[in-house]
Amino acid sequence: MSDAILVKDLTKHFGSITAVDQISFSVKKGEIFGFLGPNGAGKTTTTRMITGIIKPDAGEIQILGYNMVTAPLLAKQKCGVVPETSNAYPDLTAWQNLMFMGEIFGLPDAYARRQSETLLRAFELTEHAGRKVQSFSKGMKQRLVLAMALLHEPELLFLDEPTSGLDVSSSRLILSMLREMNKRGVTIFLTTHNMDEANNLCHQVGIIRSGKLIAIDSPEKLKNTIDRLHQVEVSFEQEISEDLLRIMPGIIQISHIGDKWKISGENKDALIRSLVRLSEREGLTIISLHTLAPTLDDVFLQLTGGQYS
């Protein structure tokens, strides 16, 4: 598989601040790549450079073989961009927005019309085609912006928080469309704060912090990197104090959420045995006991030093 995106030593300064510091990575064709990082980490700046919205101070960006700095028009022709905030023209109707995109991408009129009809149907917007976008709900606007990005059938799609703040049905519709498009071979670059989304969708995840790419791998491999941290979730019938749990050997962290205790230790087996011994000794009844695998959230929090977006 060749690269859809190839980024080498990408750097951007804003005055004395280095927003993006010599980051390099590649995204294979047909992949869904999740780009994660806390606020201010450099995600948006990186995405804007890759999509040709701003120019980098240094480094190279290849989009499907085209250099984004020296041949931006050819590179952009292959891409669709869905920003976090809807940027369809509010004074135009949904149909006029789609037709305008068709003209900007140089599509033949008949093809643009056919595609628009198909996309409006797919995104459940057909009956709103003649309405001005200013009257649309957030979910409708986001679906329209995605339709506008897909009109020219891009090989590479950039999405920034595509489901942020959307209702469940719009969110599900968009995610199922993304999976469908990926099945058809579209490469997807997804900037997200939603770990579940990244975990369930992405083949590869990159985590950026303070302008530097600090991790890049598949979600499962990333989770394995912190597998040394074993967690057990236990619930007792009786009320107990944290001090009682603290006496167990090998405990790293304890948290009490609702009627459950979440205990992290160095060794899962030792942790379970200690809990059983403790319950026997103290006459406690265990209601439930689960072992927890590290989540992408845990990876993210550990790698970004606890900063959440």
């Binding site: 804007r48 999509t51 040709g52 919205i53 701003i54 120019k55 931006p72 028009l73 050819l74 952009k76 022709q77 891409c79 961009v81 920003p83 905030t85 940027n87 369809a88 023209y89 509010p90 004074d91 135009l92 006029q96 305008f100 995109m101 003209e103 900007i104 991408f105 140089g106």
Partner: protein, 251 residues
């Protein structure tokens, strides 16, 4: 850029122009004020105490109409689009900054020409007959492009607040009216006024329109049209260079 890409970009600039016309110009308040403006200008000048021959008056009125309408909306398109994030959409599409600027200029020129045609028709109805239609049409086309380029240039400061640009626009536009031979021929202005008139493209537009109505002006036809063309080219180039610098700051 090869000729195929240039051709594609011109087509895309036309798409931007159509979008601008739909969003910013083809609106009842804009259309009504566009029609009313020349009417009020005529009324103001015809009802003045000092009688002025129509053939002299009309060149100034056409000059003011084209100048004000071509620079009315174009300065605020970039700030509006920056504010609404629609500029970010355009920049992420395969359209060159030059084509976006050209599209905005075409839309502004079309609006300016349409309103000037209204003023021209009113003039004809009031008895102002044109001696040289070819020169007049060339002047209006070139003037519309030139004044639209002024409007685009005024929108260079990377603010997302349209009012800031409107203020700057007013500060630049009104002084130009007084130094451009609209109210009296350039050769009758005081020496300082005559010197300042040379740096205003409106001077050459007013003069060439006056020639097309009366047969006589302060400069030769070729010089007037040449200066309008030179101003247009310089203003477009300056707009492209400066907008390329400030466009990323709006996004």
């Amino acid at each position: 850029m090869n000729s195929r890409i240039i051709g594609e970009q011109v087509v895309r600039a036309w798409a931007v122009a159509k979008k601008d016309i739909r969003i910013y110009y083809y609106k009842p308040p804009v259309l009504i004020s566009g029609i009313l403006m020349p009417v009020f200008l005529y009324l103001a000048f015809l009802m003045g105490s000092k009688p002025v021959p129509m053939s002299f008056l009309i060149s100034g009125l056409l000059g003011m109409t084209l100048f004000f309408t071509s620079t009315a909306v174009s300065p605020v398109v970039f700030p509006w689009e920056g504010q609404a994030k629609t500029l970010e959409r355009l920049v992420s599409c395969p359209i060159a900054p030059e084509a976006i600027i050209l599209g905005d200029m075409i839309a502004s020129s079309v609006f300016g020409i349409a309103v000037t045609v209204v003023a021209l028709i009113i003039g004809l109805m009031l008895g102002a007959s044109v001696l040289n239609w070819v020169v007049l049409i060339c002047a209006i086309l070139l003037g519309a492009l030139c004044f639209s380029a002024i409007g685009i240039l005024l929108s260079v400061p990377p603010t997302a607040i349209p009012q800031n640009i409107m203020l700057l626009s007013t500060l630049v536009k009104f002084p130009l009216i007084f130094i451009s031979g609209i109210f009296m021929p350039v050769d009758q202005l005081p020496p300082l006024g005559q010197t300042l008139a040379l740096i205003s493209p409106l001077t050459y537009f007013t003069d060439v329109v006056r020639i097309s109505y009366t047969g006589g002006g302060s400069f030769p036809i070729g010089f007037d049209l040449g200066m309008l063309l030179a101003f247009t080219v310089i203003l477009i180039l300056a707009s492209v260079v400066l907008h390329k610098k400030t466009m990323p700051l709006r996004i």
